[in-house]
Symmetry: D2
Subunit: 449 residues, 4 copies
Amino acid sequence: VTTSTQLYDSLFTAQSIRDAFSARATVQGMLDFENALARAQAQVGVIPAEHAATISAKCRAELFDVDALANAATKAGNVAIPLIKALTALVAKENESAARYVHWGATSQDAIDTGMVLQLKQTLDFFDAKLLQLSDACAVHADKHRHTIMVGRTWLQHATPITFGLKAAGWLSAIERHRTRMAECRTRLLVIQFGGASGTLASLGERGLEVAKELARELKLNVPAASWHTQRDSFVEFASVSGMLNGSLGKIARDISFMMQTEIGEAFEPAEEGRGGSSTMPHKRNPVSCAVVLSAATRLPGLVSTMLSAMPQEHERGLGGWHAEWETLAQICQITSGALEHTVFMLKGLEIDAARMRANLDITQGLIFAEAASMALATHFGREKAHQLIELACQEAISTKRHLRDVLAKDAQVSSQLNIVALEKIFDAKNYLGVAEPFIDRVLAARKQ
Amino acid sequence: VTTSTQLYDSLFTAQSIRDAFSARATVQGMLDFENALARAQAQVGVIPAEHAATISAKCRAELFDVDALANAATKAGNVAIPLIKALTALVAKENESAARYVHWGATSQDAIDTGMVLQLKQTLDFFDAKLLQLSDACAVHADKHRHTIMVGRTWLQHATPITFGLKAAGWLSAIERHRTRMAECRTRLLVIQFGGASGTLASLGERGLEVAKELARELKLNVPAASWHTQRDSFVEFASVSGMLNGSLGKIARDISFMMQTEIGEAFEPAEEGRGGSSTMPHKRNPVSCAVVLSAATRLPGLVSTMLSAMPQEHERGLGGWHAEWETLAQICQITSGALEHTVFMLKGLEIDAARMRANLDITQGLIFAEAASMALATHFGREKAHQLIELACQEAISTKRHLRDVLAKDAQVSSQLNIVALEKIFDAKNYLGVAEPFIDRVLAARKQ
Amino acid sequence: VTTSTQLYDSLFTAQSIRDAFSARATVQGMLDFENALARAQAQVGVIPAEHAATISAKCRAELFDVDALANAATKAGNVAIPLIKALTALVAKENESAARYVHWGATSQDAIDTGMVLQLKQTLDFFDAKLLQLSDACAVHADKHRHTIMVGRTWLQHATPITFGLKAAGWLSAIERHRTRMAECRTRLLVIQFGGASGTLASLGERGLEVAKELARELKLNVPAASWHTQRDSFVEFASVSGMLNGSLGKIARDISFMMQTEIGEAFEPAEEGRGGSSTMPHKRNPVSCAVVLSAATRLPGLVSTMLSAMPQEHERGLGGWHAEWETLAQICQITSGALEHTVFMLKGLEIDAARMRANLDITQGLIFAEAASMALATHFGREKAHQLIELACQEAISTKRHLRDVLAKDAQVSSQLNIVALEKIFDAKNYLGVAEPFIDRVLAARKQ
Amino acid sequence: VTTSTQLYDSLFTAQSIRDAFSARATVQGMLDFENALARAQAQVGVIPAEHAATISAKCRAELFDVDALANAATKAGNVAIPLIKALTALVAKENESAARYVHWGATSQDAIDTGMVLQLKQTLDFFDAKLLQLSDACAVHADKHRHTIMVGRTWLQHATPITFGLKAAGWLSAIERHRTRMAECRTRLLVIQFGGASGTLASLGERGLEVAKELARELKLNVPAASWHTQRDSFVEFASVSGMLNGSLGKIARDISFMMQTEIGEAFEPAEEGRGGSSTMPHKRNPVSCAVVLSAATRLPGLVSTMLSAMPQEHERGLGGWHAEWETLAQICQITSGALEHTVFMLKGLEIDAARMRANLDITQGLIFAEAASMALATHFGREKAHQLIELACQEAISTKRHLRDVLAKDAQVSSQLNIVALEKIFDAKNYLGVAEPFIDRVLAARKQ
């Protein structure tokens, strides 16, 4: 832990993605490219097989002085240039002739981009695993709480009853769409970058494509139609889908933090020794995970917009746009990893107070059934007149602090159409849940396994 | 034309998308929802068929006073509320009983969101058509200019030769990926919004899903797993894909504007009477379309970030986030439509000066073949030593203002390995294009028809 | 009302700023420039005085066909070019010789930028007026409610007591800083743009500066050090300060909407006939103004980032960046105007339920005084031990559903240090407000008049 | 160097700002707060002086295990909570009684925010120093090159002549405005955060303000009107001004990178051994500093928008918004520091090829004097007719590949008004620079010392 950012890494990011973006792992990604390149070229016959073997043996990050590489990057403009120089020197110590073939025919962006693709692949695998856990956790809530009635809230006001299961199903439906998007993104993203200086692989003559195919095979990636040094859409797509995912996680955290308000108390982040305490208030239990997830949802839009802004890159290789991607993509991966981890943690351990949910339904003395009453009367008076009639009754209930049901029972027009039994039925939440349950079932049925 | 924005509408947007987002068309979208809702409910037996017919007959935007609706929106908070009131009044004039069933069981967001989906459908259709034209135009350039040699530029410096066909193929490859993304987005986007007050369709009892299916059939949309009042990911996906598309269009415009620089003069936007003139400089021919497309690429990242920021919407219906979408989405559609139209125009009429491309290749007196020479020597001296050797020769060529080939011909080490014929071959661009042509063919082969 | 955006203009924007950015007003802004230019040049003796008078007489927007100008902008790339052409034609009808001197020595960007500055001046005036109203409204609340005790909430959890006056003072402190920022921004922003083709005013020979000074005097603007065709920082500053302002307004709206939650009910947007109703729920009173203000706070960050992204404009006049500003700046003005108007409306008519504020203080049975108790014990046991002691007492109070005071009264360690009277005092909110009132007074004292 | 970000730290950031945001420095910032707090409270008599001394002695970052703090932050939600716990333990080892008074009356946000203010103060000092260097470097170019004539370019096309001095003066004018903005921002930014749990300093009774004043004195900061836990405008202002600054630096880098294009060759980043080389092309000299500065200008808008989006923080302390600031602010400081350093480096060592500037003026065979010719004729024929006349002459010059002067000399209408001497004068650039030099002088005169 040497930077202020790292002070908060364990709060904001998942360990495995921190590892994927360590300095060493980043260097290793580029070395994986150089290694695979040498092997591919030997396979195709572009360079001698024994030299490829010598090169391969040196493509291990632990053999390099990462601090020195970082320093050298300042003048070189990127870290691949000093890395290739260092790799060449290392190979030369073993075999001068082998050293001639290091990085043969490639350009530094080939190594950097392909290394990034390998890191994104790890990230996608992590995201997929977490999304599945998230999907499972949501599905459990959706199913288990299909009859747990609570207040539906619109504009932060009581609206009509829903179930907590339906709320969880809503979260789930978005998660499932993100799983599909990640899968679609993956097919475009997991390709090698290999174009040489200007994207023609000129220095390999006519053997470029053959080498590319073998290189891709070595790295378990695909071969793109052409090199994409200045066509960055797939990186940006990854960023965008991550952005959307964080938006949906932010929605979950927002809902939970609202339900966890002292005055509402319907749901709670899992409690743990020492979690969410205050430095000064002994009674506090702060929603730490909600804070982390909401901070991620606040940060991603700006980072995604950076990726979009960096897209119009100049000619065959860009000036500044490409450089803007490096840290931005790493941050997107890390922040998203943390938000996913915290959301999974929250949802798996979420404490639900069903009694409180039930109780909150009643605090407005029946107003939450205003629409139900309105619709019941609408068949008799029409939608608009019924709406006005109930609106007046609501005002009377509020000003006289009476239950809306009692106000309606006293109303001549209403009682002419609805008797007490009918009225009681209207004010029973379980009769006013519509297709909440079929909706839950549809969402559950649409889950990918 | 009444607002400052409209002063530039014909510059920045396409007519058909302006039409799709006219005030009247927007009102019509909501009326299409109300119309389909009435018909669906009649079909399912929720409301009387004759009343549905009466409602249907009034669902035409030209029957409404759009100015009055806009005024009423101020207090109501959205335009659907006064619209439904006005529709109800209109129907009531015809038949009091029919008026009872206007907007039956729906909420205003159902009408607004579904109306927006219908507008986005038109937009997607327009985008698809333009993307096909763009794909065609790029394909023509890629194919026709597969042998048109030009300078490949990296960091805005001469790098190695490429062909203009490869540059166009690069543009094409991104366009094709965007076509796929638009298609994938479409499947998630084109669904009805129908949930009633809190997403349960409670006021329709158990008939909600039946009505939903019929409603979707009427509107040629799909039924989502559940209502998505606060799950906005599909709208945001549309915005994001549009953002990425504009990034790629911006890259095309950037390349063209750079090639069109007075000192470079390789490619030109189509000329037209009165196009791109200056108010004061008679000789100017300004790249108007590039300016429009680049301004779109500058604006989209911010608009996409707004859509992402608006995602964590509160509980069953949001407060502010939803409202932030309305104008933002409309702008995304309009700006993208203009950028597409200008790019198609530019690419269809792009003037290429192949001779100038050729001539620019020579202005560095052979330096552009430095890599070619380096690779030719690398088999003899190793990649790194060859690199140093050529680096020195380049410096000599520059300081003595001689052609690199001549410097090399005089170099003892070089001439020991390469004779004049070999050297001449190195300095012939057509021998140093690698797999530019196979890359073009791969991109062309991958086109969707 | 012809576009979907205009449907919501009366909801989202203030009338006077809509007027300032009407198509006609925008054209008038450019004509004001041309008018002042002619008069200035006559004054300085660059053009004949009688010709200037003829030109001046035609610089009235109502003489021009705005639709035709908008159409012509498509090819020209901006609206100033066709406007100057039309103005020249109009003058020529009167006097051929006078027509020679229209737009003398200027470039279209001079007219467009200066026109925009004039619109921003109107906007700043409007902002200043509204900010003063806002400051007044906050000051009234801060002063009037200096003793209105309510729950202080951190992380959306009860923390310790505050007063509503202090909350309002917090809002006020930010508003006051924004007033200062607007004033500072004004001095840099309100300058003419006048540089001619490349910023040298070459076509005026050595008279450029003289004309510039006279032109500025005519327009009641200042003369900048040099022309700023591609130095856009002052426009961006205006955008940024507007963005910050919206952030602070959003904070006010967020606080109010949270206090207005059904379960909390401490403060309410003003009620009005037909305001915030629901299309389907008769009992609803939606916080419409909060929604508008929060949507503005959601939209501004993206728009500000667009202005920032557009800054690195090319050489003497930019390609795309400048064009990206036009609509973005107009939107920033309009959205901010609406957010200001809604916030002023809300704060002036804000309904406070002081009894409910008081009641909410008690719902945790004394937990909100946990810090007070902890500090009282800290002098005896040290801060950390006292914290642990109270933490345990809080847990007991919660699990046994007792008042924290009663739990503490039963605790041997506590009662050894604090008797009943001391305990009672701790649990009286008015004894635990620290310097809330001095803070209020400091904020009030710092107000600009 | 342990993270991928750190691999590029020496490329993208300045050492002194990296140091200011090291983990240890960040911890020290919070300890400086705790130290000053203890001393202030002793001074005021809130805590015993000898205990304050004991606490002070332990407020040194090197006494703490930073890794352990980072780990503990995960559960606690921020790093101040475990830090205060560790500090208390450390003090307790020395003196149990003293430990009671650690962090007396403060909340963790007080320590974190004030620590950040101290880091921003260092950053502002660095920015000021670099801005002065930048101002000096620009001023030198503006003055030295007041007669260095070059092409003025608009829309990336040749427009009319300017001087390089004027271009540098344009850069300078923006830098000077940013210096003023930084100074204005500083007065609002450099204040302590001190409010305790909910901003009332309740636990200090009536002594809060006294302590605050003493605390501020200790830290050489000011006392704000009230605490600003959820009023974040001053942090956002710092971010915005930094964003604007990067926009202006990006403009400089864009201009330089364009002048450095192989075909243009007018200005060059300083050369250095091993700087800007290519891994594969021996002849390349890449504009590394331009790339870094442009990447900064690409990244800042998104980061600023994050700060703006985070503004509407909840009630007395926010949930997620505050957390989103930490890394974002640190990045803004670091990226800006690097962009400043690279721009200073570039401008100090910028190589100007005045001969090439001059030569480029001629490549259009006189077209660049089209406006000059047009204005010369305008006094005879009127602006519009002269414009048309020259426009035709330009077309003829282009199609016949002749110099515009020669075309005009052959034109009857033209030669009727302008003789050869007059024509020659028109085509001499030094006669068509208008007030370029007075503009330079105005900008130089407006410099702050």
